[in-house]
Point group: C3
Chain length 319, copies 3
């Protein structure tokens, strides 16, 4: 059970069971089904890894659960939480994402890069692409495919939009747009690590300001969609995968802004399949910035070139 | 000539000239042009590899021919077999796919992964994307680009649909929908290796049942399109690249089901270019499952981490 | 300043300040803003690399400038050169492309492959995809997304089309369609290296003839769009990254033809985001052909498997 709660918390890089409890509370506030999907997904992913004999350290740190957590939640949000078909799809997808995690960890391990949520992105994009072609999975019948269209300018965000965005940016990591849900998630991050919480705030502010500067309409900004990737990028690049100092802070702010700009790019790219960017902007920007880091001597990595096999490149190890 | 026949057979992982003969018979049943395209393509690919000085072991095992075989067949099916422009495109593409094979083998060799039909998929997708922009290549004039649309439910498959699907799943690997053509292909696989034949049957059944469970309409199931990738995945994951036992059998069945679900996903992704999934579902699922395999100690690979240069990672070696 | 001029020249693989001067003259002929964007982009990219502590040898050879040069020019062409928003986007993108260069160099260094203009392609495609969703960046309001449509046949090119194409193919590397601008670029290449100039001519002729043979309409051929990737491929594969001899010349001609065929493929693939192929055809074809080269003993690489860290895989070193 502790492992499952840590798996929840690892979505935001925190190997803390307390954070996992708070994250589950946040999901419960958004809807009890979501809390259930999240916990069940993490449990299925972790159990699959156990069955297949994955190294125990990875499992104990929750590193085999967080992608499955997001896959289960994503299935519920995409396909409707209260349908039996969704339950079956989510279960099978949580098994599959464990295999995808193994593959991604092996390939990215060549450059000592973490998997991040790339396994979730690959699996969820697969579901989003396939679902409309599968009548028993796809209940809506409606068209989802569209060509990307230019966005017109709108009113500038007011103060309410901005503080809603500040919290919604954190909640949208788990697909939840409510500001109070995001607030509980943020409390969960602070409960595990104050610096990580501060960085989440830096990422959220950077994302919101960047979206504002680029002319994104106020209602979009308030929904948290343009900014949630920035929160993850800021945490990843300053403190989790690079040692926190003023250089990595500047690097993290640059990465956060890039992730905000990349979000509509990935939305356009996936528009013909419904436009779900998931956490692709976070994954792509963070992998690029981490892959480049060794070329920039001012940025320091936590360990001296660790061998991929005996470390947990996806986050902090279990205590 | 033996090398060319083995090249045909390597499409289904079999380094057997007899299987190559039976595969050519199957293509002849579908149309003499297809048999000719298949043999000529394999010959051009093999000759190009010879001219460029590729290692003899790879050539003798037929590993430099099977992607060219599929590229030539794919050109004939996409562009019409009886046009001079198609012949030229197919010839040049068979030369190019040999270069692509060299590149893919080098990159995937980093993780001791086989090329599978990835060179074919890259080349054929390139042709499918480019053709409508090239008036001398594209005879149809008709639109091929479309946004993916939700599929409505239809009647459940009856017994005729199911046994047609069983054989068509094997034939569609070579683009052929006729059940009797698929039957001859299956006989060809059994002629080389009974276990491989049995696995092909397992993959075909898994693909058909998965498609049925997901609500794919009966006429699609009977055409073999939803299931042909499953046949290849099952053979690859149980016996060819992983030692056959009950663990790899379960892994292969999971992979087969995943490939069936991935087929409409790739169809949607490629819909704006005509929706040709080729063997992308097989390639992506198998590469993911093979890349992940070393993380799962229950799955055993045939050789103890072979150096990519002195082995034939694409299939069994020549006797 | 010499470093910045070499950075300009490295777009065409030439580490020569004189070539950089001539390239800037060519851009000035097309419009003074373009010359300014090109020089400022190169300067920002080089300065960012300096600030981040990139190895001095790479910077001195101009290898940290050429992708930024193209990113700045691309921003000007896509978004309009005379808008303040374009200046800001170009500046930030030139900082980002330096990070992308570090990442791409690290990943491709695994196979001793050069970055080429892949960092530019990734960044520019990101801008092209994101821009229509960002009202303050995108001034046009017009739709850019479209499904790819079949091209009808047109008149065969006349002599004027052909010699315009010959020079425009060189100019389009920098987005410029005027034949006299291409002429000055070609003079710049010859000024640095006569053989490289001759190869640029071979690539231009190959691209034009291939496009003609494939039925591309005359006005497209004359614009240089179908052929500019061929120019870069021919130079890269014969002389820059493979030792120039008759084998690499044949390889380069095959690659040039493949790049011409790949250009409409990438145009179709990116059609939903406006159809900008940038130099993707050059990058993909050259990386495939270079990755495959070690499998073909007839092709010789300049150095005996250099360690990626102490060489400059993106082009010739500084004298």
């Amino acid at each position: 059970m502790t492992t499952v709660l840590k798996g929840q918390a690892q979505v935001d890089f925190m190997p803390s069971a307390l954070t996992g409890v708070l994250f589950s509370v946040a999901l419960f506030l958004a809807g009890w089904e979501y809390a259930l999907y999240g916990l069940a997904g993490t449990a299925v992913g972790t159990a699959t890894a156990h069955l297949l004999g994955v190294e125990r350290g990875r499992i104990a740190a929750g590193l085999e659960g967080f992608n499955a957590c997001l896959v289960a939640l994503g299935s519920a949000v995409l396909l409707g939480p209260d349908r039996p078909a969704t339950v079956v799809v989510a279960l099978v997808a949580c098994v599959l994402v464990t295999v995808v995690t193994g593959a991604v960890a092996r390939v990215l391990g060549t450059w000592a890069l973490p998997t991040l949520t790339l396994p979730f992105c690959l699996t969820a994009t697969g579901i989003a692409l396939a679902a409309p072609g599968l009548p028993r999975v796809w209940p809506h019948g409606a068209e989802v495919a569209a060509l990307p269209r230019p966005v017109g300018g709108g009113a500038a965000p007011d103060l309410t939009d901005l503080w809603h965005a500040f919290f919604a940016n954190v909640g949208q990591i788990f697909f939840m747009p409510q500001w109070y849900v995001g607030l509980v998630f943020l409390v969960g991050i602070f409960a595990a690590d104050r610096r990580a919480g501060a960085l989440a705030c830096v990422g959220s502010v950077t994302g919101t300001l960047t979206a504002w500067a680029l002319g994104v309409p106020a209602d979009q900004i308030a929904s948290g969609v343009p900014g949630y990737n920035s929160v993850l990028v800021a945490m990843a690049l300053c403190g989790v995968f690079l040692i926190a100092d003023r250089w990595s802070l500047a690097y993290a702010v640059l990465g956060s802004a890039a992730a905000t700009a990349a979000t509509p790019a990935l939305g356009s790219f996936f528009a013909p399949s419904g436009g779900h960017a998931f956490t692709w902007p976070f994954v792509l920007v963070t992998l690029l910035f981490l892959a480049a880091a060794p070329a920039f001597p001012r940025l320091r990595t936590p360990l001296p070139a660790p061998a991929p096999s005996d470390t947990h490149p996806d986050g902090a190890a279990a205590p």
